[in-house]
Amino acid sequence: MRKLLLFAGILLLLLPSTGWTQAQEDASRYLDPIEKKYSGLKDYTADVNVHFDIEALKAPDMQARLYFKAPDKMKVESKRIFFLPKEGGYFNPSLFKKKDFDVKLLERLVYDERKAVRLKLTPTDTDAYHKAFLLTIDIDRSLIREIKISPSEGREVNAMIEYGLFSNFELPTHIHLQIDMPTDEPSGMREFTQFGQKPKKIAGKVEITYSNYRVNVGLSDEIFKDSDPLKPK
């Protein structure tokens, strides 16, 4: 009995200290290998196919060519109308720079049979970023496997990313997005039929497939002129 009590006591002492150690750990160090891994990635182009499974958005699969140039230039070329989710829709390795976030380690876990960590990234500059991110990072391969936008204002986005190897860079081949976003109230006068109706949510799945990567081809800045999507004045 005495031994049992001693064991329980030691366990009680150890549990908070393990948590305390984790909380104190500089979790931002998990972002360093990713930054280093993609430091040589100057630009890439890829074909994108987007498949929507959203009730509020009935659309066939959409195809486009995506151009990316580090650190943050992006352009989509499509002959037809093309919708790409803003959050988690495309891969930008320099999106999660440790200087922009307070990083906290939430847990260590096994993800896809590999060692992983789950981090919470809270933006230090709230003008640039409005919400916190939860990242699941495969620490063996230094890959972001899951991006979850911390639920705020009823919005939830969860992106699961699969990678392939292209010119020595592991780049996404498939992004599985789970979205749940509230729609805005219609602006201006409401139609008769809108009275008494609650705005529905844009909720469902989006499957984004990337193929035909061309990496570090030396994309010029000219390409990214007139690259804005629809923009109000």
Binding site: A59, F82, F83, P232
Partner: protein, 280 residues
């Protein structure tokens, strides 16, 4: 047949027949010019809830979208233009004092009223087809082509129709719009048969259309129960051709109900005209 062409010739010889065509051209051109000038604002309002979460590329504000946008105003201004001719076609004979002359000629009353009704339908179809042609021509000229995005804001959803499917869908939608508008023409025609001047049928028809539209759209249970009995509920069935998937059963039902209205209204007009006392 000769009688029908004679009625058509008579209708299209009047300058008032062309008021509608002129105003439709003016409305469409003005709308498209304004939309061209304030494209950004329209896009912002239209895609507001989606732009927050999606990057949207491509020609969203294209000729097909403009056409569908203008079609949405069909249930207000097109009925008015239809009544200008349909409400006048029989009553004008009484106003002009030609009704007796007309009815003592060899063609039977049945043939005369049928010819006048078919002329009304011809005019109605012509007006909607003119709207279609002018919308699509100017729309594609000013805004170009592309996939059609229908924003059903009342239902908080968006339907995306690939460009290859759009011309056929628009054709079907305008055919359905012609069918819807024939009911308005039939009401005006019936009132025209009952009246001896043109103002009454025009105002009467518009009053019926507006009151039915308002009653059918009030968000109260009583009016919701009433809406299946109002023809205006089925008049917007053309929109269903721009939905995904196309609800064929709903379309067939709406078309049938509107068709029955046409048969009923014309039958009454037919009986009234055949029994019309022209001696007094």
């Amino acid at each position: 047949m000769k009688l029908l062409w004679f009625e058509i010739y008579k209708t299209f010889s009047r300058w008032r027949t062309y008021i509608s065509f002129g105003f439709i051209a003016l409305i469409v051109v003005m709308t498209e010019v304004v939309m061209k000038l304030s494209a950004s604002e329209i896009l912002y309002r239209m895609m507001k809830s989606f732009q927050k979460d999606f990057l949207i590329y491509g020609n969203v504000l294209n000729g097909w979208f403009i056409t569908a946008f203008i079609m949405n105003s069909l249930h207000i201004h097109i009925p008015f233009f239809i009544t200008l001719v349909a409400g006048d076609i029989v009553s004008s004979e009484a106003t002009a004092g030609t009704v007796r002359l007309l009815l003592i000629r060899p063609p039977s009353r049945s043939k005369i009223i049928t010819a006048k009704y078919l002329t009304t339908l011809f005019y109605t179809a012509g007006l909607v087809i003119f709207l279609a042609l002018i919308c699509v021509t100017f729309g594609l000229l000013f805004f170009g082509g592309g996939d059609l995005i229908m924003n059903y804001s009342a239902q908080f959803r968006i339907v995306f129709i690939p460009e290859a499917e759009v011309p056929l869908r628009i054709l079907l939608a305008f055919t359905a719009a012609v069918w819807s508008m024939t009911v308005v023409a039939s009401i005006a025609f019936l009132f025209s048969t009952l009246a001896e001047n043109s103002i009454g049928p025009i105002i009467g028809t518009m009053a019926v259309v507006i009151v039915f539209l308002v009653l059918g759209n009030f968000p109260f249970d009583f009016f919701r129960m009433l809406s299946p009995y109002l023809f205006t509920t089925y008049m917007v069935f053309w929109q269903r051709f721009l939905d995904d998937p196309i609800p064929w059963q709903e379309i067939a039902r709406s078309a049938m109900i509107l068709g029955l209205h046409n048969i009923g209204l014309f039958s009454i007009a037919f009986i009234v005209f055949n029994r019309k006392d022209i001696k007094s």
